[in-house]
């Protein structure tokens, strides 16, 4: 479903070029759940962005759903994202001027689905926000906002779901509930899940664990072994 080889990413900084990723090779099969852990600033989000086709590597190749995204232009990558990719972000990334329902409808509308409203209502109902359809993000709690984001991520039936610290902004209890929802939906839909987190509890729920250390991926320590 998702693979990359010899992936490198270098960025220019005031102190000179900084090599964030130093040749990463990886393969994730359809339906797998993978947690990528690592210290702050280790490049987890950079890797996630590259795998999801939001950015291009300095070198190396990436395939998503059997298509090489490193050979595509931005529009082709956008099409691929629309058909195959869902996102859940640490900071929710909901549009403030849209209601919960409208936020979930957005990817469906962008892909031209005529049943956008019904589908969005179904997913919001599924995450327990049926009574909150017309609320704006600033009228919702952090946990509720993240549930809207999860509903939006699954609404387009993606093959791969990328989640970047999905519980990072939430308290433990709310975080736990969000994790439950995420994995329940993942099971129901058979989506491949790639999670970036520094939370042990969350990483443990995934089948595989990988740790990003000094720009390279290595299997997570045995006590953090895949569940």
């Amino acid at each position: 479903m998702l693979r990359c080889s010899a992936l490198e990413k270098t960025v220019d900084t005031a102190e000179g070029p900084l090599n964030i990723l130093k040749g990463i090779t990886l393969e994730i099969k359809a339906g797998d759940t993978v947690a990528i852990t690592g210290a702050s600033g280790s490049g987890k989000s950079t890797l996630l962005g590259l795998l999801a086709g939001l950015d291009l590597p300095s070198s190396g190749r990436i395939w998503l759903a059997d298509q090489e995204i490193t050979a595509m232009n931005e529009d082709q990558r956008a099409d691929l994202r629309m058909r195959h990719v869902g996102f859940v972000f640490q900071s929710f990334q909901l549009l403030g001027s849209l209601t919960a329902l409208e936020n979930v409808m957005l990817p469906l509308e962008l892909s031209g689905r005529s049943d956008a409203k019904e589908a969005a209502e179904r997913y919001l109902d599924r995450v327990g926000l049926g009574p909150r359809l017309t609320h704006y993000p600033n009228q919702l709690s952090g946990g509720e906002q993240q549930r809207v984001a999860i509903a939006r991520a699954f609404a387009n039936s993606p093959s791969v779901l990328f989640a970047d610290e999905p519980t990072g902004n939430l308290d433990t209890r709310t975080g736990a509930r969000i994790i439950d929802t995420l994995f329940e939906l993942n099971r129901e839909t058979g989506t491949t899940l790639v999670l970036v987190t520094h939370e042990q509890r969350l990483a443990e729920r995934c089948r595989y664990g990988l740790e990003l250390v000094d720009g390279l991926l290595q299997p997570a320590q045995p006590d953090e072994a895949p569940c």
Binding site: S45, T46, L48, G49, A52, L54, D55, E74, D75, A78, D79, L80, R81, M82, R83, V85, F87, F89, Q93, L95, G96, S97, L98, E102, L106, P107, E109, L110, S111, N138, R152, N156, D164
Partner: protein
Amino acid sequence: MLSLRLLARDWAAGELRLLTTALALAVAIVVGISAFTEQLKSALVSESNRFIAADRVLMAPNPAPEDWLQGAEAYGLRRGETARFASMLVAGDRMQLTGVKAVSPSYPLRGRLEISDTAGGPSRTVDHGPATGEIWLEARMLPLLSVNVGDRVEIGESRLRVGAILVKEPDRGDAFFSIAPHALMALADLPATRIIQPGSRVRYNYLFAGPEKGLAAYHDWLKKRLTPDYRWLNLRDTQPRVASALDRADRFLLLASTLGVALAGIAIAISARRYSERHYDAMAVMKCLGGREGRLFGLYLQQLLFIGLLGFALGAALGWAVQWGLSILLESYVGDRLPVPGWRPLAMGGLTAAVCLAAFALPPLLALRTIPPLRVFRRDLGNERRRAWPAIAVGLVSLTLLMWYHSRNLQLTLSLVLGACVTLAAGGFLVLQLLRWTRRRTANAGGALRLAMASLQRHPLRNALQVVMFALAIMLLLILIFVRTSLLKDWQRQLPPGTPNHFLVNILPEQIADVRAWLGEQRIAETDFYPMVRGRLTEINGTSIEERMKREQRHNEVQDRALNLTWSGDLPADNSIRDGSWWKAGTQTSPPEVSVETHLAGELDIRLGDRLTFQIGPETLESRVTSLRKVDWDNMRPNFYMIFPPTVLDEYAHTFITSLYLPPERKTVLNAFVQRFPTITVVEMDAIIAQVRGVVRQVTQAIELVLWLIIGCALLVLLAGVQASIDVRIGENALLRALGAQRRLITGSLWLEFSTIGLAAGVIAAFAAELAVWYFQERVMEMSYAPHPWTWLLGPLLGAVLVGGTGYLSCRHIVRVPPMRLLQAT
């Protein structure tokens, strides 16, 4: 449609109101003002109703050939005819020298006559002159001839019935050098009177009315046939004061619309930029969700198009309402219904909307295209400083073109734009330096002041830009206020209360003492008595005027008519020497000196030292130009093109002229005067003065209304500017409150911060406005410039209060909403 749904959601969130309002105001100003200036032009035409009873008049000393007149019909013109002459009216043993006007049945082509049946009784309006066999007399003639309506009077060999009392006639203002009192009769009755004989002094006026194009084409056709005896008149020739008042109003309104569009353009640019910046995140998220760059940008373009249509519709409606209001003002004065303006103002509004959106709103939106989807992880992506120059250059060029298009004056536009650029760049630099300087000075200041200064210094470039933007808005507003004030002052100065409203002409030298004594008895103050000799300017430096003008392929009315020459030892009041020098008392030169009015000198290319030859009666007089003199033609005193030193014209036949002020209630005194001095001509200017005052009053109201529209635009710029910086301020101040800052401290610091920005903007604006107004008044409005000391108070005060107030009002919810909610929102 997704774009419409997104637009509706943004609209509901209030994101687009400012942008749409700014656009609507730009369109409203353009539509309203251009429709109104079109109507002003119609009013100018209908003004001629009152003064020449037609749109154009051909003045002739002899009857014009019939084929000339019939030619007019081919151009779709209506025509009429009047003949004016002086004649003795007789009733029983009473006789009265009367100025008679014989009129054709189609007279008047424009305007209406007002008549009554009894002196001082109720009057009614009619749109035709007397029927054949009738004569209409001015009220004061009835006691002079001892007749009433219905009685008969003799004129030449005819006896006509007094049909009505003539109260008002549209071309009465054209009564210069006509003899009062006045009577009106049918042209058809004229031959029977046998008054007109070869050599009789009669002035024939051929009246024409119709569409402007037809008039121009007919004039082109006729021009080739006219001999120098004929004069082709329009309102500008007959009523330069009214024409000049309307012209100036027109120019003022064009300036106002130019500045209004500039202000609205700035507001559009600021609010579009803010709109774009607030959509960076949305763009990144939508790209993340699989939206293609082109498609997403298309969504925003569609929104822009929709905003354009909405803004245009709102603006056109508002503009039409403004135009309607203004035209009601004008109609109440003009009396006739003004034609509904055509589609042109709407087209201009549409063009303005399109250019404003393309030039000011599109560049910030273009920035949205390049927002990378990775911004969802790194919010700093897409925030890096973009090269602003291309957008600024596009905006500036478009603004210049728009202003040029609206002002129709490239010189004015370039000077305004260049002046604004230079002053504002200098102003921006100064503000930056000032902020650096105050950084050290305010470090120890207390509370709100330190907070305000810290906030200003935290974003020096952004704040300097804001100061410059506000300065621009205040400057444009000040310019308009200055020009309006001096325009009104100039008008008031032209015709102050007590302006002479009657001329006494043809006073013989030996009558001066008697006239002076008589006026003294009646306690009527007169201006000086000026001698007057009629003479034609025939040669300049030995070359005949005709030859000289033919060489330059020009024509001047001086070629066609005699000038009034005068002499004076002192430079008359309201005259000023522009070149050369006034003569010293008692000096006599050969050839004698002459002082020439500057405008005429320019027309005929007369320079200092030139030799001028005059034909006075059968004799010629040669003179040398020793001074060029500017004359205030609006002062209603006797004014002259040519002035000689005393004694030069002594030997030529001369009469005197004077002017005096007569309040309306004392008008009947004229009867006694005319009886006492029957040979002296009384020229009544009071009707004209009243008309000019009327025009000025109505146009002043129009100007005030337009000024409010422009103030609205300037406030919009302030609001847009404040809102553009509000997001940052909300975050910072919410944090301060969370850290325990009291509401008063936050409110005080917001006031201080915005007032300081406004104060700085006001100082820059005052300086820039003073410069621009100096240029504008001297070069464009042809008015004299005087500095405005109060600007230096008004500018900064206006800036501090307006920007402070707008800033405070826009930000006050920061201190009302719990900080938690604000922090969540940012």
